[in-house]
């Protein structure tokens, strides 16, 4: 193949901006709960499986009869990282630690770990998963050290 010395490209005049609407009707209690400072999971009424993140349908047994359970939030860090090079939509954020912890109810959660420096984070660190109000129309949840 012939090599082109200096690549020439046409800058496309057509720009695409995508903002998805995320349907949360069937798990709205979870998002409502965050506003009230609560972390909810769902339990399948047929097979008893506890689901976090919460689901409206049970992939294990196929039932769609779920009960909402508030989680205590206490858990232990199993692994973590600190994100330095960020995705475009997070470019304004300071570096953030993402951790996966096993909660005392037996399910795991992935969330930011705040209030601690990365150098002080260890596998086994005791944490609590807590609800967080980011702004008027935006809620999330995060781990904080106990």
């Amino acid at each position: 193949m012939k090599n082109v010395d200096k690549p020439v490209s046409l800058k496309s005049a057509r720009t695409l901006q995508l903002t998805y609407n995320l349907p949360i009707s069937r798990t709205s209690k979870f998002w409502q709960g965050l506003k009230e400072g609560k972390i909810y999971a769902t339990t399948c009424q047929k097979c008893g499986k506890l689901h976090f993140p919460p689901v409206a349908d049970c992939g294990d047994c196929g039932a769609s009869d779920m009960k909402w359970n508030e989680l205590d939030g206490a858990g232990e860090i199993e692994t973590f990282t600190e994100v330095i090079v960020k995705p475009a939509s997070f470019s304004e954020e300071p570096d953030y630690i993402v951790a996966i912890a096993r909660l005392k109810e037996g399910v795991r959660a992935l969330a930011w770990l705040t209030g601690v420096k990365r150098e002080d984070v260890k596998v086994g660190l005791k944490v609590k998963l807590v609800a967080k109000v980011v702004s008027e129309d935006r809620v999330s949840y995060e781990f904080t050290p106990i």
């Binding site: 193949m1 090599n3 082109v4 690549p7 490209s9 496309s12 995320l22 976090f52 993140p53 199993e78 692994t79 973590f80 990282t81 600190e82 994100v83 330095i84 090079v85 960020k86 995705p87 475009a88 939509s89 997070f90 470019s91 954020e93 953030y96 993402v98 996966i100 399910v107 795991r108 959660a109 992935l110 969330a111 930011w112 990365r118 596998v123 999330s140 949840y141």
Partner: protein
């Protein structure tokens, strides 16, 4: 088979890049474009402008009218395309098929690429609020592997050093310079503890292979056919938080056991392998998950040179994703192209030709963080 030069290929568009792989693959197969009844394309394609890559490639390469499909299995899209075409032949619907892997990633900016790949887990629970990135998904594996088995950042660096060594010997590779452990350890942190040189580059590239039935291969008089003995596959949860541990990829374990069983071989029979080293820790986990060593001994394999040419199982002696580059949907097809050359003992320079005992090779291709996995066993 055919294989473009990997790298920043801003000199060509998607179709032209595909042609660089398609044209030699057809020439070497003895079939013309018009004689190809089916083409499967492995491509994610969100970084380039064409939403229907299979259609534009078919038109450009003279295959219009053939059955077409684009396969998505994230970084394993290439293997998914191979499996798709293989199944069409196995099922007797066609006697030959072309598989193309192609990706043009350099057409958009890097933060947007980080965004698109970071979203490729469970979007709502991992990205929307937490901005996971691909290095971050593998970094959480590195942290637990290091904690559990004593693997060190130096061990991870050794994988990069090895793969750059072979990349420097591969004229088609993206990164063709040798590096040192110090250089890896001193490179900037991307997602702690993974550093720049622990990560594969963002790469453009294409690869193509022609698959054919046994009968068709005889009819064409192919001199040294290479056979697909088995394709094993598996998957894992979208949410990393739904997995039991982060020291390996269960999908790799399941897919490889399936492939070994189908082919009637064991890991000891493998003469050469390509494994999915999108990050250095991924190669160490792959050694273990594929059964090349016991769990927790992956770092020892690289420390003792067991995966170098001349070692027990040479791995990624084409430079791997790490140095050859990882054009997402291309990788699975590129692995088969490389292993075909290895099995035919046609590798030049000879320094990266693996010695053949059983003429058996293995390709391990994962998509996402072990979300998808395909293990293909080839035999000459």
């Amino acid at each position: 088979m055919g294989h473009s030069r990997f790298g920043d290929r801003s000199d060509v568009n998607l179709s032209e890049l595909s042609f660089e792989a398609v044209h030699p693959s057809l020439e070497s197969s003895g079939l013309t474009a018009k004689e190809i009844p089916y083409m499967a394309v492995g491509s994610m394609g969100v970084w380039s402008e064409e939403p229907l890559p299979a259609v534009v490639i078919a038109e450009y390469c003279g295959l219009t009218g053939a059955g077409l499909v684009r396969c998505e299995a994230a970084c394993a899209s290439g293997s998914a395309a191979v499996f798709n075409a293989y199944s069409a032949i196995k099922g007797g619907q066609v006697d030959a098929a072309l598989v193309v892997g192609v990706e043009k990633m350099k057409q958009i900016d890097n933060p947007t690429i980080m965004e698109m790949i970071g979203r490729a887990g469970y979007y709502l629970w991992e990205f929307e609020n937490f901005g996971m990135t691909f290095p971050a998904y593998y970094a959480v594996h590195a942290v637990q592997h290091m904690k559990t088995y004593g693997t060190t950042e130096e061990d991870l660096a050794l994988v990069a050093v090895k793969n750059h060594k072979y990349g420097s010997m591969n004229p088609l590779a993206h990164l063709r310079h040798e590096i040192t452990v110090e250089k890896v350890l001193g490179s900037s942190v991307i997602a702690w503890p993974l550093k720049l040189y622990d990560c594969c580059p963002i790469t453009d590239g294409a690869a193509a292979v022609v698959l054919a039935s046994e009968e068709k291969v005889k009819e064409l008089g192919v001199e040294t056919p290479v056979w697909i003995d088995a394709i094993g596959f598996s998957s894992d949860t979208a949410n990393l938080s739904k997995r039991e541990n982060y020291v390996g990829l269960d999908a790799s374990v399941r897919a490889s056991r399936m492939a070994y069983r189908m082919a009637g071989v064991s890991p000891e029979d493998v003469d050469v392998a390509t494994v999915h080293d999108c990050f250095t820790v991924a190669e160490i986990m792959a050694y273990e998950d594929l059964g090349f060593c016991r769990k927790g001994e992956g770092a020892r394999m690289v420390r003792e040179g067991e995966t170098e040419v001349g070692g027990r199982i040479p791995v990624n002696v084409d430079g791997g994703l790490k140095a050859k580059g990882h054009p997402i949907g291309t990788t699975g097809v590129s692995m088969l192209a490389e292993l075909t050359k290895q099995l035919r003992e046609e590798i030049k320079p000879r320094g990266r030709q693996a010695p053949m005992k059983n003429y058996t090779a293995l390709a391990h291709n994962t998509g996402g963080t072990g979300h998808y996995c395909y293990v293909t066993i080839l035999r000459r």
